[in-house]
Symmetry: C2
Subunit: 269 residues, 2 copies
Amino acid sequence: MIDNKTIQTMLARKSVRKYTGRVPDDEAVRTVVRAGQQAPFASQLYSVLLQRGGKAPFGAPLWFVICVDAHKLERFMELRDWKLVTNDLSLLLLGMQDAAYMAQNMVIAAESIGMGSCFLGEGSLSAGRIRALAKQYKLPPRVLPMVELVMGYPDEDFPPRPRYPLDFMLFEGEYPSLSDEQVRLAVDVMDEGYLAQDYYKHAKAKIALEDGRPDSYDYDSYSWTEHISRKWGQWMPDAADMLGALRERGFDLRPERDTAAEAGSHDDQ
Amino acid sequence: MIDNKTIQTMLARKSVRKYTGRVPDDEAVRTVVRAGQQAPFASQLYSVLLQRGGKAPFGAPLWFVICVDAHKLERFMELRDWKLVTNDLSLLLLGMQDAAYMAQNMVIAAESIGMGSCFLGEGSLSAGRIRALAKQYKLPPRVLPMVELVMGYPDEDFPPRPRYPLDFMLFEGEYPSLSDEQVRLAVDVMDEGYLAQDYYKHAKAKIALEDGRPDSYDYDSYSWTEHISRKWGQWMPDAADMLGALRERGFDLRPERDTAAEAGSHDDQ
């Protein structure tokens, strides 16, 4: 591994869930957001919302919401006598990348100046949270809260969390046919790594089993792949609520024929 | 602004479109990808594909494809006797964030060790490119190419590109009602900034007008907001192609009632 301050900062990063009372000054906020902006973009389809001095999770002094923002795009297009015609799905996929690249730069910038941070909601928002934030921040159409990010000075220290082995995620030439044995090796790296840090025991973060499925795991055996399996194996089976929340925010992902029928018009393209 | 090496690296980053013949060694590749991995994640829904020694755009020696990967998730869930039930839209939205946070860490890690990089395709892939990459890399179901990233040692130098003024993208407390005047100020910052760097003249990157719309712009007036307007005002009006490509990759974004009708089954949730 090549070593320098930036690489060290990135490798040492972890999600911080306990903060000191120290409040970052305006210069720290500006530094983090300006560094965020210099990430690559397709069309600067982003905005950052900020709340300070509130009741942020984990006692964090800064509570950001990183948004996909096509409202400002539409505003300047209108001034230039243009109308946005690109489909909402492509708009969302590109906008999410603009917003996410900026968000990650903010995370690293914060680390580099001694702050820590944590994405909320496991990296994404629920339909209900999208609606609540739209109301709280009076968001115009075509602004979609993508992820919440709390930030401040850490009041806890621990090693970085485990990651997949490199040969389980970097594939040269073609995607390999992974054997069960290879999958098990990666599972073991993750599970043993989290168990060695007592992560779930410390966080008391066990997810309950639904439908009366018996639970044979305690905190000496419950680890990352079991935790992740319980999420994706139980949560959010139906897309309707998320599709509705996106539509209310101005991103209509229904196929052309549906929206056309509803709007009574159709694009020939 | 608070100053340190990492902040300097982030503020100086720009998309590099010309590379020297120098080939990054394995250690450089490993450093970039490992630093990428320590970005925050929801479920490590990512893979990185790599091609070296090929014909990458701009003569870059490294050509990455950052993918949303739920295949490995399904593989380890199966070994744990779980079945993925979460809807494909939520899977995609969370997976894109996992993949994007990692991609941006790779960009910054590369900068810090003297390399440069450029996202291809303006930050996202077309339906056609998704299909071509799936075939080239023999991608299993539930692996979606999200963005291509070329990387190497820069053979050009120029100042970082302009960004929106901070007060046009950071909003505290609530999203403001933006006046036309405020929008115009931001437009001017962007357009004058790009014109001062002769960006479009140098890149010969003017987008043609469709439908016989007369073009009154030359490279002394054509700048960022006109360029962006021509994309979003002309390109990809129909979502059908992208929806189809996503569905072929295992991400079906159609509303529940459609997929249920087709599959002949329905989830009660």
